[in-house]
């Protein structure tokens, strides 16, 4: 069993599902579509990690690959980001973007599950054995969709966290939310960089960055939802309120 190709993604999977469980628990206690979407997003993150670990342990399976590509590569960032949109944008705009994201996700799912696959196209390295890679998709018009989802996810999730940091920092309030959002932004950025490095053939970058990203976002969530000892308790949302 290769530590890079199996244990790292399995660890990402565990961290993500525990994270998702806590977010869903918070959603049941407090409601709010942002918590529901973050929970769904972290569940997608966990599915992606599980599929990578499955591939590392048992080898190629086209159904597992399609689940990995859809949830772990294509949709996860955008759905997490949509949660932040519900927190920061006006409800009407958030609803409109949700409809667009939902339709785009259905279209993406149809394209991923209808795509021709060639596992021989995936690269391998001495260090990692073999990583799942979108190169296995040989049909045109599928992989080109992914950067658009990830652009949206990066702008909304990382941009939203950075915006929240700025708002809280400017007012010098809720330091725990400032620290938490910095961790969330950093954690969300890591897989984006890992994916880019992986794309350029740097073995192991994707799985390591996914694990570190999940851990950093988890720490950020815990920090943002736990007031500092000296600070008064707050019922404010994790990110900055709508302006």
């Amino acid at each position: 069993m290769n530590i890079f190709s199996t244990l790292l993604p399995f660890a990402s999977c565990i961290v993500s599902f525990v994270f998702a469980f806590l977010v869903f628990k918070r959603y049941l206690a407090r409601r709010g579509p942002h918590l529901l979407l973050w929970g769904i997003g972290m569940t997608m993150y966990g599915i992606g990690g599980f599929c990578e670990a499955y591939y590392g342990a048992f080898g190629w399976n086209s159904l597992v690959f399609r689940f990995w590509y859809l949830f772990g590569a294509m949709l996860v960032a955008a759905w997490l980001g949509q949660g932040t949109v519900y927190l920061l944008a006006k409800r009407k705009w958030a609803d409109i973007l949700m409809v667009v994201l939902g339709l785009a996700s259905v279209y993406g799912a149809i394209r991923v599950f209808g795509a021709q696959l060639d596992p021989g196209m995936m690269g391998s390295s001495l260090h990692t054995g073999s990583e799942l890679s979108g190169r296995a998709i040989t049909s045109g018009g599928v992989r080109v969709l992914t950067p658009f989802f990830n652009l949206y996810g990066t702008i909304t999730l990382v941009g939203g966290a950075a915006y929240s940091v700025w708002i809280f920092w400017r007012k010098r309030i809720l330091l725990h939310r400032v620290i938490g959002n910095i961790f969330i932004a950093a954690g969300a950025l890591l897989p984006a960089f890992g994916g880019t490095f992986s794309r350029f053939g740097i073995g192991g970058a994707l799985y390591i960055s996914e694990l570190l990203g999940a851990i950093l976002m988890f720490i950020g969530f815990l920090r943002a939802t736990t007031p500092m000892e000296s600070a008064p308790k707050s019922t404010a949302p994790i990110a900055a309120p709508k302006q």
Partner: protein, 51 residues
């Protein structure tokens, strides 16, 4: 214009360490966002190869 006009909450301060670290972290995050967006856009529009 007084200092208070420029920053209404000027009296409030985070601990010294965070006063220094937060803007640095925010700057690093913003630079990283720009880099990721440029790379993602370049890939999306076919300017960078994904092989």
């Amino acid at each position: 214009m007084t200092d208070n006009d420029q920053r209404p909450s000027g009296e409030r301060k985070y601990p010294e360490l965070y006063e220094k670290l937060v803007p640095i972290a925010l700057g690093v995050i913003l630079v990283a966002i720009v880099v990721v967006l440029i790379v993602a856009a370049a890939i999306a529009f076919g300017l960078l190869s994904w092989k």
